[in-house]
């Protein structure tokens, strides 16, 4: 039988854990709202950009003069995996699910005889991939000092990727992030950045535009921006997903702590009752012996 004092300390410690998880859950809920608003606010730009790019890319696809960012380098030997995760843990399976997807992809590529390079964004993904894929990592982007992810963060990452591509460091780039579905579910997603792919919305027939300057100049000018936009969208989705995942993880933790407290309290009460009964028995048998 565990002694009463130990049980009491245990209950108190679980109670304070519950307070912390509860607070974290509420903070995550507040941050989630803000992150969702940011993702929402970025959507019109991203949608428009995508629609225009799909239109432009469709027109220039197949032509010899198509920019390299769109057409690719004509090879697919070296793959760059951009793994975007959170800077902080305690958010359920959020980081692991991205790392898992990225690891599976890396293994698959390695098995196919391709060279894999990894660029990590966010500390947690780096930690998880360090052990088995650490030697493939080429760089790491630290966003832990960034309070609110802005477009400049994304465009810095994107221009770094483009610079590496132009330097011939890799042929294909893919970004891994979690797409926000709901608080309960985030979908780990792989999006190919280079060669760029744009999906037009179904049933939107674009009018015949007049281009100024030429179509190709516009395409060349917009491609890096479109890439930044894709990275930005991914980071925003990731931000909302992280908070959503943390919120549900902390909600679970709070509930588990509650269950634990109930169980321990019952045990505590039983032990106390047993101790009292024991004492009574001792008193009564003592009295009877007299």
């Amino acid at each position: 039988m565990p002694n009463l004092k130990d049980l009491k300390t245990r209950i108190d410690s679980v109670k304070s854990t519950r307070k912390i998880t509860k607070a974290m859950q509420m903070v995550a809920a507040a941050k989630l709202r803000r992150a969702q608003e940011a993702a929402e606010a970025g959507r019109p730009y991203a949608d428009r950009m995508n629609a225009v790019m799909a239109n432009l890319a469709g027109a220039s696809a197949g032509s010899d003069s198509a920019p390299k960012l769109l057409a690719g380098s004509g090879d697919d030997q070296v793959h760059m995996l951009v793994v975007a995760t959170a800077e902080r843990g305690l958010c359920g399976g959020f980081n692991s699910s991205i790392a898992k997807l990225a690891r599976a992809k890396a293994e698959e590529l390695k098995a196919a005889g391709k060279t894999v390079k990894i660029l990590t964004v966010g500390k947690k993904g780096r930690e998880q991939l360090q052990r088995d894929l650490g030697d493939l990592m080429v760089d790491h982007v630290d966003l832990s000092e960034v309070k609110k992810i802005g477009y400049t963060n994304a465009s810095d990452i994107a221009s770094d990727i483009v610079a590496r591509f132009n330097a011939g460091e890799f042929d294909v780039a893919t970004i891994f992030y979690n797409k926000f579905q709901s608080v309960m579910s985030q979908i780990p997603t792989a999006l190919q950045l280079i060669p760029a792919s744009f999906e037009a919305e179904e049933g939107t027939e674009a009018p015949l535009y007049e281009y100024e300057p030429g179509e190709e100049e516009i395409l060349a000018d917009l491609l890096p921006r479109a890439l930044s936009t894709q990275v930005f969208t991914a980071l925003l989705e990731n931000g909302a997903s992280e908070q959503g995942a943390r919120m549900s993880a902390m909600d679970n933790a709070t509930r588990n702590a509650g269950d634990m407290i109930d169980k321990l309290t019952i045990e505590y009460n039983r032990s106390r009752q047993a101790a009292i009964t024991n004492e009574l028995i001792e008193i009564i048998s003592g009295a009877e012996a007299l």
């Binding site: 730009y45 428009r48 950009m49 535009y209 007049e210 917009l222």
Partner: protein, 129 residues
């Protein structure tokens, strides 16, 4: 009078969405004004002043790079940075000039002209504010 739906969006938020009667846009190949029934066109932006006229109110924005999509019924400006003119101080422009200067210095021979043009356009912003 016929109006044209005007949207100004930056990557981070939607800045404006109004029915405008005319919009002056600093296009890469020169300024132009979009009104209702404008022929569909797509052009890139140069740093400059974008002014929107709706119900006789004129709103002005300072924009840097980006692009504009105009069709008969709407004009969407997707600007990398867009600030209401009132919020722009010479400090902000100095920052933009510094960025453009750095880009011009770093540009390869092939992109030199474009980068220098951007720098000149950015410097011209100082006179607008």
């Amino acid at each position: 009078m016929a109006t044209i739906q005007f949207d100004l969006v930056s990557p981070e938020r939607k800045l404006a969405s109004v029915a405008a009667s005319e919009i002056q846009i600093p296009g890469a190949d020169g300024d132009f004004t979009a009104m209702a029934e404008h022929a569909p066109m797509l052009t890139t932006l140069r740093p400059g002043l974008l002014s929107v006229k709706a119900d006789n109110d004129v709103t002005e924005y300072i924009v840097t790079g980006g692009f504009v999509e105009v069709s008969g019924t709407n004009a969407s400006v997707l600007a990398e940075t867009a600030l209401p003119k009132g919020e722009v101080t010479s400090d902000v422009v100095d920052g933009l000039i510094a960025d453009a200067t750095a880009a011009a210095e770093a540009a390869s021979a092939q992109d030199k002209d474009a980068a220098n043009k951007r720098l000149a356009d950015t410097k011209a912003l100082l006179e607008l504010i």
